[in-house]
Assembly symmetry: C2
Homo-oligomer: 360 residues x 2
């Protein structure tokens, strides 16, 4: 087991990464300060891992709530269902929530914890690669609104993150690839050496070779932890973690939440960001090729759906948390391994990029 | 105009108190950092003051949303209506919300600001005495759940509080008295001299003598600001501000939100807290008389509704944010001017108090 730390003063917390961590009570229980625990999970993960987690909570007044699986359930209504369960069971301000599942479960549970009685503790037990390398770390929590993804939420840091790499054995291939998209992202935004390593080890990653997976998760979590420690509330460098996300969120929204996996939409978004970066003269055609090739090798899409018109795309992109005073800002690539947030692109260049990256 | 400060480091903010402040753009605009502003108000306050506030926002991209008036609308659904309006108007992370109204408007608006795009700025313009002396200061925001009052929310401090005492001229007598309940609270929990002053000046307060009102608001805000600066997230002394609130919340919930005004329920709750404090031997029958008399002089109720049984009362009190590990904790009086949080009372003493304080 490897343990990293997210350094946030008296709100610092550990990230434990390794095989067979799920049942280990000694990793979880030191982070539970009251007696009441509610495990939030979904109907895909519950049959696989819920019992193991509940067993490690003997001695606590523990309950579980099983939500339907899918991004389409990442709503305020679902959060309210959690509040109802907490109140029905008379959960107090010293209760702890545990998120057992992927990014959707983590985001919903974190926001419920942020808002129940103005904030209670929570623990992340991510069971997808995407959640282990990205969404479980850093305290971004929230839900979607019909008019925009992740528009409702809070910054609320977990007490602890437990990434059990054994849980990835039950992950569908498509989900594994979606997680790899976020791993590739770290290489693109600030570590060209890591990107090279990914190019060389993609086969082993896709075949879930344990040491290769563990290394990719550690590198990713370290990168995320460093950035979050530097800029918790996204006033600066943290925005770079959104490479591909403005394009990606538009694809997710236009396609109906849950049809494209978040990582898939981000993959296509990164290909689009690379294309626009090239049109700005920042990266070479060869760099664009590198981006497209590694994404395709990871079985990820690089073209946006044919049915999203330019107008619709721009309409959806205009609802983005990085927009300031009405101006769209995007994370683009200055080079492979260096990203920036910028509004310095022409409208025409954006349109050409949208056209170029659309599936035919 | 008098200006107090809530000292919270780089999140410190001013409280301006005085007549005719509503239209003064120079008080509001320095606290708006983007171009987009949404004023949240209700259908009672809008006809009186909305135009004046909107006029002071010329130069901004300003909108308003008018909610139905009443505690029964302090729900997650109403907050979602605000999100919808913000997204329909493409409001970004640098937008500002302005709460124009009483405590309900302030609580809803503050929670919307806390949760929209993980937190945007907001300004409080309280137009009821209760909001001016209590709820607009200190960053407690939130909404009710059918199973418990203020169970969903966040700590989110405003950028500025503007308490225009002229707005109190249009307040119904019943609302004025409800606000006085919270003013009396400050005297009871930590300032016996102020309580004496209130006893001597209650007539002038009720007749809305401007200088008397202004002094009561300043004293209350100063007390609140001091306590919030000392204990923002209610780990200690801030809990004392909940004198009467555990009993009061139970009355509000049992009676249906909106039937009892919050201040009325708190008044009865304080009478009940005084009664229990006496039964514990902490305060004299004369002290209990002092509490009951000043509340009655302020035209506030001191008896709980006849229809709430002891079982129902206790069931509702068990859902309280001060409960820890299943143990009910109450704010009680050690003396007039000194409150403590305690679980050191017998169940029998609580039952006797519930019986004693019930209307016949």
């Amino acid at each position: 087991m490897k343990t990293l730390s997210v350094d946030l003063g008296n709100r610092s917390y550990p990230i434990h990464i390794g095989p067979d961590l799920l049942g280990k009570a000694d990793l979880i229980t030191p982070h539970i300060h009251g007696k009441q625990v509610l495990v939030v999970t979904n109907d895909t993960v519950a049959p696989l891992y819920l019992e193991k987690v509940m067993q490690s909570l003997s001695g606590f007044n523990s309950n579980s709530i099983i939500l339907p699986d899918g991004e389409q359930y990442k709503t305020l209504d679902t959060v309210n269902d959690i509040f109802t369960r907490l109140l029905e069971n008379r959960f107090n301000r010293d209760a702890t929530l545990i998120a057992l599942g992927g990014g959707v479960i983590g985001d919903i549970t974190g926001f419920a914890a942020a808002s129940y009685q103005r904030g209670i503790d929570f623990i992340q037990i991510p069971t997808t690669l995407l959640a282990q390398v990205d969404s479980s770390v850093g305290g971004k929590t929230g839900v979607n609104h019909p008019l925009g993804k992740n528009m409702i939420g809070a910054f609320h840091q977990p007490n602890c993150v437990i990434a059990d790499t054994t849980t990835l054995n039950t992950l569908e291939d498509r989900q594994l690839s979606a997680g790899i998209a976020e791993v590739i992202k770290y290489g693109l935004i600030r570590d060209s050496d890591f990107l090279k390593w990914l190019q060389e080890n993609m086969d082993k990653l896709l075949s879930r070779e344990p040491d290769t997976l563990a290394y990719a998760i550690e590198k990713s979590c370290q990168c995320k932890a460093d950035i979050v420690a530097e800029d918790e509330k996204e006033h600066g460098v943290r925005a770079l973690l959104n490479l591909g996300h403005t394009f990606g969120h538009a694809i997710e929204a236009a396609s109906g939440y849950g049809n494209w996996l978040h990582g898939e939409a981000v993959a296509t978004g990164m290909a689009m960001a690379a294309e626009l970066s090239h049109r700005l003269g920042w990266i070479t055609p060869n760099d664009v090729d590198i981006v497209n090739t590694i994404l395709k090798t990871a079985n990820l899409p690089v073209k946006s759906p044919a049915e999203i018109s330019n107008d619709r795309f721009q309409e959806l992109m205009a609802i983005d948390k990085k927009v300031m005073d009405g101006t769209l800002r995007l994370v683009l690539l200055k080079s492979i391994g260096e990203a920036i947030v910028t509004d310095q692109f022409e409208h025409e260049q954006l349109l050409t990029t949208l056209n170029h990256c659309r599936a035919v």
